[in-house]
Structures are given as C-alpha cells and as structure tokens.
C-alpha cells in the first residue's frame, strides 16, 4: 500500500505572535516553526498502516526551504521518501490553489491512500485535503480517528460532535483527514535520524498557478476584541496574583 502524507509547517504553538506594520500578517522574522499538529498524527497513522500492511510512506510538503525540517523529521520517524514543492510564496496560498499545486505534484504517484491533518493551525481553513480529493475524484472522510485498512473496502471511524462517532466504508484509493489524538506519536530514534540522511527528498517546482487562484484575500489582521473586561491580577507576580484571586473568588464571585 502506497500512502502519501501531506504535511504543513506552521508557526510554533508557543510562539508569541506579533502583527506586522501593515497589519497584513504576523512578523515572521524571528518566528520558530513546527509541524502542524494534526499532520503529525496523519504521519503516525500512515507509519502504523505500513507496519501492518506493508508498502511505502511518501511525505509531501510545500513552502520555502525551511519546511525541510518538517520533511527530515518525518523521514527520521520512518517515512520512506519525500516530495518538497519549493516556493517562498507557497506558505500563503489559499486552500483551492494549494490543493491544485499538491495534485500536480502527487498525481503520478497513484497512491492507495492520502492522509493529512484535519486543519492547519495557522490559517485554519480545514479544506485543502477535501478539495484535493475532489480534484482527484477520490472519495474522502474527514475528522478520522480510526482507520481499518484490512478489508477490500477502507473502513474509517469519524468523529461527530458531542461525543458521537460513525463508521464509514469506501473504496480505495481515498483521502482521509486525521484528527489529533488518533494514536500516540513516536519519537525519531537516533537510528532513524541517521537513516533519514540517505532518503530521497525530491524537489519540484509548483506546476499549477500559485497566485490568482485564490478567491479570498486577507485585508487586515488584528487581535480579537475582548468579550469580557478581564481583571488581571498580580501585575506580573504570579504568586501575588494567586493570593488576590483567592480573595476575589470569595468576596466578589462568592464561590465559597
């Protein structure tokens, strides 16, 4: 079974975000990056399916050279090879354009399964995977938390809202968007890191138009308006804040 995993590099979750002068995007100069959380789980699921059923795991990522760190990490964890669609502007294309570019890069691979995370932690469109499935005419399922690939049909467990779940069957090839927490993510071993150095990373240029295909454009970004007037306590002294908080919970909020 050949599995392609689409992975995106996003700003580190703990990074303090600052808005640029033009208020069009965040300051990227001093930003640190990491793999998009649910894409990490998609890779883990691909590796587990390969261990069970054999085959090959191919990672595909797009963006500037910095995304190599996500690719190398995936190879160290056990992916067999990678495709890097290189372009500085590719970190910022909309989901339809992104899906078109990805389709051209992976079409000839004829994968049995394409996995990706359910949404990105930066733009949060939650669409690229599903659009890509449509462009390739593949069936898909989103927010998947269990994959059974032992039968002729693929059987997947989808998360619904409020603690409900549902199994869906569909023919292969198919595309699945994976929910975080589907399984525990493995660490890269030293052996894996050494082995990764010999694995192929194919660099390709974006075949589809990467600009102009976007029908939505960000004009301005800003910090959200507060819904409540928060009383900030302690003024930087966390312990003092804790004492004041206990007193407020008693006298103002009347919790006890």
């Amino acid at each position: 079974m050949k599995i392609i995993v689409l992975m995106k590099q996003v700003a580190n979750k703990d990074a303090i975000l600052r808005i640029n002068k033009e208020a069009t995007w965040i300051e990227e100069g001093d930003l640190t990056y990491e793999v998009n959380e649910s894409d990490g789980y998609a890779l883990e699921e691909a590796l587990r399916l390969k261990e069970k059923h054999g085959g090959e795991v191919v990672v595909c990522s797009m963006g500037p050279q910095r995304v190599k760190s996500v690719i190398k990490d995936a190879l160290a964890r056990g992916a067999d090879r990678a495709i890097h669609i290189v372009g500085d502007e590719l970190a910022h294309v909309g989901p339809f354009a992104a899906a078109k570019i990805l389709v051209e890069a992976i079409r000839d691979e004829n994968a049995d399964l394409i996995l990706t995370g359910l949404q990105s932690d930066d733009y949060g469109y939650a669409q690229t995977g599903v659009i890509l499935a449509e462009l390739l005419k593949l069936p898909h399922a989103t927010i998947v938390i269990e994959v059974d690939a032992s039968g002729e049909q693929l059987r997947v467990k989808r998360e619904l809202e409020s603690g409900w779940y549902q199994w869906y069957s569909m023919p292969r090839p198919a595309l699945l968007t994976i929910q975080s927490g589907i399984s525990q993510i493995r660490y890269a071993t030293l052996k894996g890191i050494m082995a990764a150095k010999k694995k192929e990373i194919k660099e390709v240029a974006p075949a589809a138009e990467s600009s102009g295909g976007s029908h939505q454009r960000i004009t301005k970004i800003y910090f959200p308006q507060k819904m409540k007037q928060t009383q900030f306590l302690g003024g930087g002294d966390a312990k003092a804040g804790a004492s004041q908080l206990a007193e407020k919970l008693r006298s103002e909020a009347r919790i006890f």
Partner: protein, 325 residues
C-alpha cells in the same frame, strides 16, 4: 444574474441542528444589509424536515429531495447542493461551521473552482462589498477577508457567531419540494454511536478546574487535583491532555467533548482554541492562568493571571483552604 442568499439547514436523525438557526440569523443579517432575499435549503428524502423552518422569516424553503439523501454522505450532499445552487444561482451560500459541513462544503466549493470562507465570526456589508472576519492561529488573531471572482461566495459561520434565538420569525414561508439529481454515492455510513457511556457527567459540576498543554507532564496533574479538591470541584481538561492519555476522554471539555457551564471554571495552561471555548464559555465566572498574555482564553476570562501555573496553583490551593477555614 446571480441574486439572493441561500442558507443550508443541517439536521441529523430528524432533529435540526441548533447552529442551523444561527446560520439563518447570519443569512438574514446579510440579507437585510444587502437587500437580498434569503432562501433556506434542506436536504432529505422528503419534506418532513423543512416544516420547522416555515416559522422563520425566509423568502422560501427549498426541500431538495432524493432517496440517497436519507443519510448524510459527502458525495450525495455535494451533488444535491451543487444542483440546488446551479438552479437558484445565489450570490451567497451560508452554512454553519459544523463537522458535517466541514466534511462536504470544500468539495462543493471546489466544483465552483473555489474554496469556502470558513469558520467566520462576522460578516459586514458596506458599499465596497462584504467583509468576512474569521479567526486564525487557533483563535489568537482575527483576519478580515474579502472575496473576488464569480458568484456564489461560500461562507461558514462558527458556532455562537450569531444567536439562533435572534433569527427572525416570519409568517409561514412556503416549502417548495425540489426533486434533485444525486450521482453515485461511494461512502457507506453505519449508524452513529456514542462511545461507552460517559462515566463522568461534568455538566452538573459547580466548580471545574481544567488543565491544558501548560501542565507539561502527567505527574503535574496531581497539583491541579489538589486545587480542585480545595475548591470542591471536578477536574477536566482540554483536548491535547486527553489525546495524550493523561486523563480519560470523559474529562474532555469542548466541541468533541462535554459542554459545561459551572459557577466557576478555572483554566490552567489552556490557550483557548475555539474548540475548547465553545464547551465552557457560558460558565458564570471564568479564571484563566497562562504565561502568554495574548492567549485567547483571556478574551472570555473574568479574572486572569499572566504567569507560570506552577507558581499559581500551590499558592491558590493554600489560600483557598485558608479562606474556607
């Protein structure tokens, strides 16, 4: 020439999803600013589900019907909605940002060569057009978005962005049955189910102490437990903690877990992604402790401490014990 707004009404097992009424409110709001008629669209095998919408102020209700729409599948829903849109030629297609819509809407939009303006919190109409606002970076930042190209514009609205009870009532809109073509359906759904009955019902808790990523390791959970005990409350968590297996899933608060509204909700090291906020934002008093002053949890907190939770928790636990005597 394209005109009007259609709003997609979601239902499951014969019950209309309450976020559908929020979508109706969003569509009505946009409709009155742009002076465009709003039509509601319900998909199903018959028109039974459409009746409930007749109480709302919409121009008409399209009941798009096909046997294959008896159960939700992305193939059938995308086909049906595509045909409805081609028939009605609307300017805007408004939908609730639910798990179901997330599953088929991008597929639908792709057939029109575009993507969805997804997970919006607002839409403002002005002379120059409609500006949508959506949350990015897991709720830390808002972005204003404008669209271009041919109609329709597809947009989904986040749960809570508009209030369902503010959707305008009307005097009996007509239901129009529309038999609709649906092609091959490749996915076969099995009946939905709930995982083992939830052992813990947090919806009745008066005080909840919830932990997030900031707790750093499983060993540190004991600290939060002591605070919960001092406050006489229950322990809960955001999704990553349950994903890591540090607490069972029946302690999870948020869109995929439980929804709670206790008298006091203490969020420790939780940044406040929307998926978490929807599960707890109606709590009476919200306390947030986080080292990131821009964490979205502070947007809904009554009391906030910017700092290290490991400095706050022991002091707070002791002070609460002292004050309670």
């Amino acid at each position: 020439m394209s005109n009007g707004i259609i709003v997609f009404i979601e239902h499951r097992d014969g019950v209309l999803n309450k976020t559908s009424f929020e979508a109706v409110a969003a569509a009505q709001n946009l409709g009155s600013s742009l002076q465009m008629p709003v039509s509601a669209v319900v998909l199903g095998k018959d028109s039974a589900m459409a009746q409930e919408i007749t109480a709302y102020n919409v121009g008409k209700i399209i009941s798009a019907e096909n046997e294959k729409l008896a159960e939700y599948t992305p193939d059938a829903y995308a086909d049906a909605m595509e045909n409805v849109i081609r028939a009605l030629d609307p300017q805007f297609v408004i939908m609730p940002h639910t798990y179901l819509v997330r599953d088929f809407a991008p597929k639908l939009a792709a057939r029109f060569g575009k993507s969805v303006v997804s997970d919006c919190i607002r839409a403002d109409a002005s002379e120059s057009g409609v500006t949508f606002s959506r949350r990015i970076f897991l709720g830390k930042i808002d972005a204003d978005v404008v669209t271009s190209g041919e109609a329709p514009v597809f947009a989904t609205f986040q749960s809570g962005a508009y209030r369902g009870d503010q959707a305008e009532k009307g005097d009996g809109a007509q239901v129009e049955s529309m038999p609709i073509e649906v092609g091959e359906v490749r996915m076969k759904p099995e009946p939905p189910f709930q995982e083992v009955k939830q052992a813990v019902d947090l919806s009745k808790a008066e005080v909840i102490v919830a932990i997030g990523r900031g707790i750093k390791s499983q060993e540190n959970i004991a600290l939060a437990e002591q605070l919960a005990a001092a406050l006489g409350g229950d322990l809960a968590a955001s999704r990553p903690i349950c994903d890591a297996g540090w607490l069972p899933i029946d302690r999870q608060i948020g869109s995929s877990g439980q929804t709670v509204a206790p008298k006091l909700y203490v969020a420790l090291g939780i940044s406040g992604a929307i998926q978490h906020l929807v599960g707890m934002k109606n709590s009476t008093t919200i306390v947030a402790v986080n080292k990131d002053p821009e964490a979205p949890i502070f947007d809904i907190a009554d009391y906030g401490i910017v700092g290290d939770i490991f400095e706050v928790i022991p002091v707070l636990t002791e002070e609460v014990k002292k004050l309670k005597g």
